[in-house]
Amino acid sequence: MSKRTDSNSYTMIFAVIMVLVVGSLLAFFASSLKPNIDENKRIEKQQNILYAMGINENDESSANFVSTDIAGTEFVKYIKKQLIIQGNKISEDDTAFLIDVKKEQTAAKAGNERRLPLFIGEKEGKVFYVAPIRGKGLWDAIWGYVAMDENMIVRGAYFDHKGETPGLGANITQRYFMDDFIGEHLMSASGDFKGITVAKGNNDPKNEEKTDYEVDAIAGATITGDGVSAMIKKDLALYVPYFKSLKK
């Protein structure tokens, strides 16, 4: 190898050119693919909400969304109303779909009143109230959609994550975990909000007890499970006043 490449000036120039080339290459890819990626994310969100309502193509053991081609039309067909709840104000607003839960959580920390989106769907004569939740797992963000009836009994749930450990925490997206939530109560009969805890050793692996406010945890995924419990407790508690107002 020639000595030419050892000089300081060569090294500097090489570094600058490399950064420029790599930077523009990545910027080019990121900006030219952004519309496609955004569209994919929008469809995914519709699929997530529909999944929580039980509109999916699940086979015996795996979780499958409705196909991307029909997600848009199915969403319009089943979701009857989109609400934005802000304090005592409840407004019907189709932009609820565009609310970014992450931004709202940050805004709430800064002291602003958080806007809570709620999707009201109808399927086979039953009403589904679908709320988004978001929290922290072990490595990165976790989030989900919980469909409830008017008594805050869970009718379906969908969870997802950004970077949980495959085979352990990442299994919150598996049927055996998500299906455990179906039928669980979030509120006690007297109207106290209890949430649902992802519990180790709750002696109910078949999940027959629906009013224990617990589901069975995943082995080796304690922190992700705790994250799921925390986001359910924290984010769904905000909807309690709305559900109480339904009964008046």
């Binding site: 490449t5 990545l26 990121a30 990626i37 995914e44 495959p166």
Partner: protein, 215 residues
């Protein structure tokens, strides 16, 4: 292997056995421990590394005469990171489902020491074709061990393979579970991956005693 000269064929076959990156060089252990709790993740990781190492080795080999030696590690890191991010972006735009499975691995691929190790040890001193073969050979050697570890950990830890319940249902007590068999939850934790890799190393060295170092 009519296509390859004897010297080139060794580049492919050597990392599979006597110079395996995991069991002999003990590289790439971090990802071998982290993601082998299930077989599917092992396979995804093996394929990703195959792609990145094959391509990255060629890129580094083409650039080998112009890379300043003082900052070569940083240059290598940038090449891997760029490749991985571009692949991730393209998948996100055109194969969203697949990209969701892969996104977790992006960080793990960039920091995989096998990739840096091969860039540094081979691609910097050899031509593109030989570097490509070396990359493929090492990635396959890595993948084989990953898949073997993933196979045993998923089978013994969860009683499933690729998500299929091959041993029966542990909650309904069917199949093997009816006889009182239980899954070993310890298999799912990282320490057990290290023990499985250790057992593979043990078997390999007892079959080929020339691998044992003299003290």
């Amino acid at each position: 292997m009519g296509l390859l000269s004897k010297k080139d064929a060794v580049l492919l076959s050597d990392p599979l056995a006597d110079n395996n990156p995991i069991t002999i060089q003990v590289l790439g252990i971090c990802s071998a421990l982290a993601i082998t709790a299930e077989l599917k993740a092992s396979i995804v990781m093996a394929v990703s590394v195959l792609f990145v190492l094959g391509l990255g080795n060629v890129v580094i080999s083409l650039m080998r005469n112009i890379i300043p030696s003082k900052i070569r590690i940083i240059v290598q890191l940038i090449v891997v990171a760029t490749l991985v991010i571009i692949v991730d972006l393209v998948l996100k735009a055109f194969a969203y489902e697949l990209s969701k499975t892969l996104s977790v691995f992006v960080g793990l691929i960039i920091t995989n020491c096998i990739i840096m190790g091969r860039f540094e040890a081979f691609a910097l001193g050899n031509g593109p074709w030989r570097s490509f073969l070396d990359g493929i050979g090492n990635a396959v050697g890595y993948g084989v061990i990953l898949i073997a570890v993933g196979f045993f950990r998923e089978l013994l830890g969860s009683g499933t393979l690729l998500g299929f319940k091959v041993l029966g249902d542990s909650i309904e007590k069917t199949g093997l579970y009816a006889l009182g068999y239980e899954n070993n939850g310890f298999m799912l934790l990282s320490p057990m991956a290290l023990i499985v890799v250790g057992i593979i190393i043990w078997i390999q060295r007892s079959r080929n005693t020339s691998l044992i170092e003299e003290n």
